[in-house]
């Protein structure tokens, strides 16, 4: 019964995206015909393959009797919007004869390939009979893998593109901060789930600093150090913020102690304050954030163009392919939400936000229904991670906080991010396998 609902929702998603692709196709057909041979019909191939991929996954879930039916359509919609807008931006740039048009088109194709890789990972995780609880046993290996990745990146990393650190191996280049994020969340959930029983006795402390438990303070301090290292060595404020936010969320879920969150926040603020005084780069970022108009054709150009895009979008937007967000630098990565807001307006942007939040809520839901403490923490933690990541980049785009180079999950251009986030969904669905099939009230 419920599997049918998933199928129906997927068809709805495909209908929405198909309509979008048709509009974009209509808008840029002359451009493709004029200068990009083959592109006029190729635009439908990728999305069609993606749709097929989702249907196959849905079939796998049906065979494995997975009770979760909402996750797949939500992720399909988000991935589809990302691909749709990449194509739309490439077309817009080509129409405006911007020099970045070919590279945007290349990014579009690369993103399709990344999706293919992510899909394979996801499909493998759904087909193979493994149990997410195995992750708990390997938690220290996982933590060390994350540390190793960070260390390797410190030595061999290449920060050529400004903010997102890239590890360039011979055949493949990726942003190691994305997998590190996932590995650390898994580790945190496993660690806290294991120490959880030990803690049921320690209760009744009222003060902020009295009765702090080393079992929580230990990892808190270690992770704080790690995050500080990411800020100070890798100079990636966005990933640091997202990691620490996600970590505090999991810590709270695992301990039910608000004081750790408060202490963690204070520690983070101290670290950021030190980074601000020590690094000119951070100061520049903050200065751009506070007053982008100072040099709106230089460093502040990006954020000013984004604000213009918001202004041009208004309530219902300029219409898909109606605005011109392609002028915004890095629109395909950091600024994708500004492009969506310009074309689809406040309404479209809010709806998209709703989809993201529903996805996060769904992960929480899986966590609540999981009979196993590790599963609860894991699914909840993954939800918090996605939520914090989305918030960090969205708040940056709207000049609420300084702009960082974090991707908007599933939507921004970026292969590593897409693959990692699809793997994250794979883990979440694996947790969902173990939840009871019938809807029961949340405990």
């Amino acid at each position: 019964m419920s599997r049918r609902r998933e199928f129906g929702l997927l068809l709805l998603v495909f209908a929405i995206l198909g309509l979008g692709h048709w509009v974009v196709w209509q808008a840029y057909l002359p451009v493709w015909r004029a200068g990009y041979p083959g592109q006029d019909w190729l635009v439908f191939l990728g999305p069609a393959l993606m749709a097929l991929g989702w249907l196959v996954l849905s079939g796998i879930l049906t065979v494995r009797r997975c009770p979760e039916t909402l996750l797949l359509p939500l992720v399909a919609l988000l991935c589809g919007i990302g691909i749709l807008f990449l194509q739309r931006l490439a077309g817009g740039a080509a129409e405006a004869e911007l020099s970045k048009a070919p590279s945007l088109l290349r990014d579009y194709h690369k993103q399709l390939v990344s999706f293919g890789v992510g899909w394979l990972a996801l499909a493998a995780m759904l087909v193979v009979k493994w149990d997410y609880r195995a992750l708990s046993r390997f938690k220290y290996s996982i933590a060390f893998t994350a540390l190793g990745l960070l260390l390797i990146t410190t030595v061999f990393g290449d920060a050529a593109n400004g903010q997102q650190l890239t590890l360039n191996l011979r055949f493949i280049a990726f942003q190691p901060h994305d997998p590190v994020k996932l590995l650390l969340v898994v580790f945190m959930a496993a660690y806290l789930a294991e120490k959880r029983e030990l803690l049921s006795f320690a209760a009744g402390h009222r003060g902020l600093l009295t009765g702090l438990d080393f079992r929580y303070m230990g990892p808190l301090v270690v992770l704080w150090l790690l995050v500080m290292a990411i800020i100070f060595v890798h100079k990636d404020l966005g990933t640091a913020l997202l990691l620490f936010g996600a970590f505090l969320g999991i810590l709270y879920l695992g301990t039910n102690r608000g004081r750790y969150v408060v202490i963690g926040l204070l520690m983070f603020l101290v670290g950021v304050g030190v980074a601000y005084t020590k690094f000119e780069r951070v100061q520049t970022r903050v200065a751009i954030w506070q007053n982008p108009w100072e040099d709106s054709n230089g460093a502040g150009y990006q954020i000013c163009q984004a604000l213009m895009a918001f202004g041009n979008g208004r309530v219902i937007g300029a219409g898909l392919a109606g605005g011109y967000p392609e002028r915004i630098p890095a629109v395909e990565t950091d600024m994708i939400y500004a492009a969506i807001s310009e074309d689809l307006g406040l309404v479209g942007a809010a709806l998209l936000l709703g989809v993201i939040l529903t996805l996060v809520g769904r992960l929480f839901h899986i966590g609540l229904r999981s009979p196993d403490p590790f599963g609860k923490l894991l699914a909840g933690g993954l939800g918090v991670t996605l939520a914090v990541q989305a918030w960090v980049i969205l708040a940056g785009v709207t000049k609420l906080i300084p702009l960082t180079g974090v991707t908007l999950p599933f939507i921004s251009y970026g292969g590593t991010s897409l693959v990692v986030n699809l793997a994250l969904i794979g883990i979440a669905l694996n947790v969902a396998y173990t939840t009871p099939a019938v809807d029961t009230p949340a405990s």
Partner: protein, 595 residues
């Protein structure tokens, strides 16, 4: 940060804290707490988004659709390069240039625009115009790219007439580099060209953009970062036609630093005039402290021409056999010829080989090497040997001293090493000895020692080194450290105290007596006695053809104020060719109006 955003942030923090406290008090389940917290921060974000799209929407929409924000760069005036009296060698003057903002040109109008620009005369033909267009497309559409500078009046007036029909094209007044002296001190001052891709990559963090000017040679290159200053600009709102509606913010530019040289333009000009029509170099030093009063290399070139569009003929000449871009004064390596006899004499005197009653007999040839006077000079004292530049006398001195002590004396006078002016490229030159010969796969013969004594064999010196030699005699045996830059901005570059090179006062006195006799009765006796020049001619044989003409001298002989070295490539006899140039330089240097 806008007050509204700040208020929003503070209010939301307070509300959030209150909600959290309430949640804890009411023992709300943790998952619900977390959901609430996340929902709260996303509501804040949504409010922020609504703020931009609704409240501030009008403003930004206007910005994006009807108006444009543009950062109008105001380049910093480049620092001046002035001589010791403040006379400018490199300065700035305003000039018109044409800029293109490619993003403002409608796609269908490109061809029309190009044709118009060709018709106006900005480009010779459509092909050239199209090439420039390709260049513009390498930049973001909003960024103005310079497509023409140093325009003729005719082109400017026609551009101004048609500007309304040229979308994206703007005229701009910007300071351009001007060299009032044209070719004065050309090799020292250097020139600017538009920055190229490699330089741009090498100075990626210095904020250069394509189209910016960059020091390509001389001090313009050496002091690029000091001369450049800090660019400023204005944030302006412009309408669709590019007219400025209002200025939003201004950042003043910081002018580049002024570089004050030790040069004296009057002396520099005299040196250049003297060399005019020849290939060669002239160096004028203050023997008391090593200040470079003039340093000229010929042929020179007009720096204003080199800063603009360089014609094909000019380019061919620049890279041709005359090698005008080589600063011959510091990089040219020449056999010193008889100028080196000063060193030979110093070595012989220091070794005690020349007593006041020592006479040399010249019968015109020694060990098969001829004196320039084939019939021979007869008996000569040291003074007479210097005055008449007798080869036989100095070959005998060299033989008596030996190559080890002779080459050591050459090095004490600074030969075979750079003089240490960091700001100009220098050659070391060569002081040969048996070890040098061995390193170059040759055998050192007695004849080589004799040839070295008269400034031939493999000896190579630069005009600057020769000027240092004569300055050392003029100041009583102290080797000066040449200084070209006196100050950069507020920073002084103090002169380095000259170093005694350990000559006996008697040595210097006896060489001085010889140098005075050169002008009084010797190889340069035609020079004006009123100037009281003391010096030494040199006529250096070289494999390239006609002899190089040298003269090194100082004046006034009793209280030297300038030390001069002049070399004329293939100029023939030093006394006939180089000495008159030195005379004219010294005349200019000692003129009362100049000092």
């Amino acid at each position: 940060m806008t007050p509204l955003a700040l208020t929003l942030l503070v209010v939301s923090l307070v509300v959030g804290a209150a909600l959290c406290a309430a949640g804890i008090y009411l023992r709300v389940p943790r998952m619900a707490m977390l959901r609430g917290a996340l929902l709260l921060i996303f509501i804040i974000f949504l409010l922020r988004l609504a703020y931009w799209q609704l409240l501030q929407g009008d403003y930004w929409q206007q910005m994006s659709v009807y108006n444009h924000l543009r950062w109008v760069r105001s380049p910093a005036p480049r620092g001046l390069i002035v001589d010791r009296q403040g006379y400018p060698l490199a300065t700035n003057k305003p000039a018109l240039s044409v800029w293109l903002v490619s993003g403002e040109v409608p796609r269908d109008d490109w061809d029309t625009l190009l044709e118009r620009l060709v018709a106006i005369g900005l480009f010779p033909d459509l092909k050239a115009a199209r090439a420039q267009l390709e260049y513009c497309h390498r930049f973001p559409g909003y960024q103005p790219v310079r497509i023409g500078s140093r325009l003729t009046l005719e082109i400017v007036s026609r551009l101004e007439e048609e500007l309304a029909f040229l979308p994206g094209v703007y005229l701009k007044i910007e300071p351009i580099r001007h060299y009032p002296g044209a070719s004065t001190a050309a090799h020292i001052v250097g020139y600017l060209r538009e920055i190229n891709a490699e330089e741009l990559a090498a100075h990626a963090n210095a904020g250069y953009r394509l189209g910016d000017l960059f020091g390509k040679a001389g001090l313009e290159r050496e002091f690029e970062s000091e001369l450049r200053g800090m660019e400023g600009g204005e944030q302006v709102e412009v309408d669709a036609r590019g007219r400025v509606l209002r200025t939003l913010s201004t950042k003043p530019s910081v002018p580049g630093e002024t570089i004050t040289l030790t040069l004296d333009v009057a002396i520099q000009r005299a040196a250049e005039q003297g060399l005019h029509g020849h290939r060669g170099a002239a160096v004028v030093l203050d023997p008391a402290n090593g200040d470079i009063l003039a340093l000229a290399s010929a042929p020179a070139y007009d720096l204003n021409v080199l800063s603009g569009k360089v014609s094909r003929q000019m380019l061919a000449w620049l890279h041709g056999s005359q090698m005008p871009e080589i600063n011959r004064a510091t990089r040219g390596r020449y056999p010193p010829g008889s100028v080196f006899k000063i060193v030979t004499a110093a070595a012989a005197l220091e070794a005690g080989e020349v007593q006041p009653n020592t006479y040399y007999y010249c019968d015109g040839v020694y060990h098969g090497i001829h004196c320039w006077k084939r019939s021979g000079h007869g008996a000569l004292s040291l003074t007479e040997a210097i005055a008449h530049s007798c080869n036989v006398a100095f070959m005998k001195q060299a033989e008596a001293v030996g190559i080890a002590r002779l080459s050591a004396m050459g090095r004490r006078f600074g030969f075979g090493a750079t003089t240490g002016i960091d700001v100009l490229r220098e050659s070391q030159g060569t002081v040969p000895d048996p070890e040098w010969a061995k390193a170059h796969g040759q055998h050192w013969r007695v004849g080589d020692t004799l040839q070295t004594g008269i400034g031939q064999s493999a000896l190579e010196v630069t005009p600057l080194q020769s000027a240092r030699l004569i300055a050392a005699i003029a100041n009583g045996g102290k080797l000066v450290h040449p200084r070209l830059v006196r100050s950069v901005g507020d920073r002084q570059y103090p002169a380095t105290e000259p170093e005694l090179i350990g000559l006996k006062p008697e040595t210097v006195r006896r060489i001085t007596r010889g140098l005075r006799a050169v002008v009084g009765e010797g190889t340069a006796r035609q020079l004006d006695p009123a100037l009281r020049i003391a010096g030494k001619t040199g006529t250096a044989q070289n494999p390239g053809g006609e002899d190089h003409a040298w003269f090194v001298g100082y004046a006034p002989a009793h209280a030297p104020r300038v030390a001069v070295a002049v070399l004329v490539e293939h100029g023939g006899h030093g006394g006939a060719m180089a000495a008159p140039i030195v005379e004219s330089i010294i005349r200019a240097a000692l003129q009362p109006t100049n000092r």
